[in-house]
Symmetry: none
Subunit: 247 residues, 2 copies
Amino acid sequence: MPSGTPQPAFVLVRPQMGENIGGAARAMWNFGLDRMRVVAPRDGWPNERAVALASGAGRLLDEAVLCDDLAGALGDCQYVFATTARPRGLTKPVVTPERAMAMAREMIARGEKVAVMFGPERAGLENEDIARANAIVSVPVNPEFASLNLAQCVLLMSYEWGRQSIEAEDEVVELAGSEWASAIEVEKLAEHYEGRLDEAGFFFPPEKAEGMKIVLRNLWSRMRLTRSDVQMLHGIMRQMVRWKDRG
Amino acid sequence: MPSGTPQPAFVLVRPQMGENIGGAARAMWNFGLDRMRVVAPRDGWPNERAVALASGAGRLLDEAVLCDDLAGALGDCQYVFATTARPRGLTKPVVTPERAMAMAREMIARGEKVAVMFGPERAGLENEDIARANAIVSVPVNPEFASLNLAQCVLLMSYEWGRQSIEAEDEVVELAGSEWASAIEVEKLAEHYEGRLDEAGFFFPPEKAEGMKIVLRNLWSRMRLTRSDVQMLHGIMRQMVRWKDRG
């Protein structure tokens, strides 16, 4: 059973090598983190190589949540970080690991669910993945030499979480206002808009459609919607369609 | 030639596996550290495996100072840290990596030379080695599970050094390749939506219209739009109206 300690979930997106999955589990458990989610691992699941390399942290793999797609893995989360070597063309807040884990700590203390995504070894996260994140975490490495592998990146984020836990004097900040929408609510909003805008002929020309959809999704995730925002945005789209149908 | 940046020397004491020596070099250079000293490596020097694993950080190995004994490696240093998994019976200050690197920074700024020792993979530093240190650095790992290898330990210390080097630009939100919209652009967007949604009958019942408009405006301002966001949102509304007109 996972520990009861409130903590972020670490989401390995399409990981390739079992070694790295096992290494990531070890890295996490060194700092008391034990909520792993695994999206579409290249070599299937369970992964023997991962189990062998996880040694004493094998429990994390047994208990890892396996998902077919990223939407499923992030569905219950109110805030999602994407780790990338370098920010790539998407308009999105970029924060240090330190800042990210401080933010995560505050949100988790308020009862929100937070995820941190890690991309596959070779290429890292795709823009389509990053579009689902509220913010990008970038480790400030030497611009002349950036060579962190998956397990190392997980290690640094875990260390940051642990480091701040030591000094955390529970200064929980109460946020005035509303409840944040969960990723699944945002996902449904994105689908609603995509569907209707598709019918309306918005995504044109066809070869640009994918890119336009990513930009739109990126907007929804970046702006951190509350539940009432989501309701209003649904309402706007519904009303436009009603107007059309009446006309 | 080593970089001119003032920094601590990282001393690998009797390292065993070439992989770990190469990994340590990579870890250091990720955070701009390039002063390595190597004491009595088990497999001699140079170490081919280490060179192979160091990839782009091979220069650190070429320039590493090779020493027969620890005394020689630490001779010119005014302050020495020993990294250990757990403090072992020696009366010696024990500090976190964070505190250690803050101390190192101060001492180095005063022109003093600082070293950080890392023990061999299997057993770690001997008490005899630790006795040469001014303080112990202990990474605050999970008491139930401590499994950091040599390269990971070097990585965490390097990260701490790097983390403290960058300015606290925490709150700064960097934008990947876009400009923020000006207030007047946001205002025009709000007017566009209000006008069309009014025609569409969205603001209903009338006594709630004012409140709904404020919520909508608040959304636009809260999410901090870029110019391209504004263009897209205009485009969405225009397309919905075109759809209606076609229908």
